[in-house]
Symmetry: C2
Subunit: 164 residues, 2 copies
């Protein structure tokens, strides 16, 4: 079972390592595979409203997520999250645990819904997981993601209302 | 016929006046009605890849648009635009002219598609215009916009491929 707790600056080397590996694969996140450490820190830690880490029982950081408003002002009641899991910790339910955690956090911060703007259609594991956790595909963006191996592929917009 | 040309800093008072009036109405843009001049300058002039103005024959600024990548890196071939028209210049085809202009500019800058992330569903004139100009509604975001008069209303994701 992963422990999920707020990000601390001392977690950054571990979180950067996971993000760097994730972005370099070029198959799940829009962030450029050449993203620098500084711009990634800005995007994952400084700009979001909150950042969390998931730790294994021995205290190692094995995942992270960030949460932020998806739009300003009159769209600011819908949040957006991003989740990453270390390659060696895949398949252990960590993304699922972080997504459940983020929904609770989002509600407690006053958000009413959560939106994913660019779920890569070929990332079948993620699409299946978000659906299982209550998200709906509300739109398909044709060829909106330039997959490093497959070329242009569709991306999905997924959405979940957290409160009625 | 509006003349469309690149924004210059001397246009800012006129552009701010249009943006301020648009945001204050709280029925078309997510930007808070309380948006300050500085944060609006950042969002409309500094962060976008390009900003243009539409001028009436006597040289008055009657509209403006901005163009930027909608996502970083591997999603950066899809651009996003925002358009505003002065209240007294509505209904003269200025939004239409700016949207056509922006598609040409986007192509020349290397973008392959254009996406609108949050078209307010009750803004029927805009929805009709974007459809006429070749955009498709690819998704509906339930209650994603907090309309100042109507409360929570749906928002649309609209998309157009500019190049094949």
């Amino acid at each position: 079972m992963a422990l999920i707790r707020p990000f601390q600056e001392t977690d950054w080397p571990a979180v950067w390592s996971i993000l760097h590996a994730t972005f370099q694969s070029g198959d799940t996140y829009a962030n450029s595979p050449q993203s620098t450490k500084a711009e990634t820190h800005l995007a994952w830690v400084e700009l979001p409203a909150a950042t969390f880490v998931a730790c294994s029982p021995d205290g190692q950081v094995v995942g992270s997520y960030m949460l932020k408003p998806n739009q300003p002002g009159l769209g600011g009641h819908v949040c957006n999250c991003g989740y990453v899991v270390a390659p060696e910790a895949q398949g252990q339910g960590i993304a699922s645990a972080m997504c459940e955690h983020s929904q609770t956090e989002a509600l407690s911060m006053g958000f009413l819904a959560m939106q994913f703007n660019l779920v890569v259609s070929t990332n079948e594991r993620a699409v299946r997981l978000w659906k299982k956790l209550g998200f709906t595909v509300v739109g398909t963006l044709p060829r909106a993601f330039r997959h490093q191996r497959l070329g242009f592929v569709d991306a999905l917009v997924m959405f979940k209302e957290l409160a009625s």
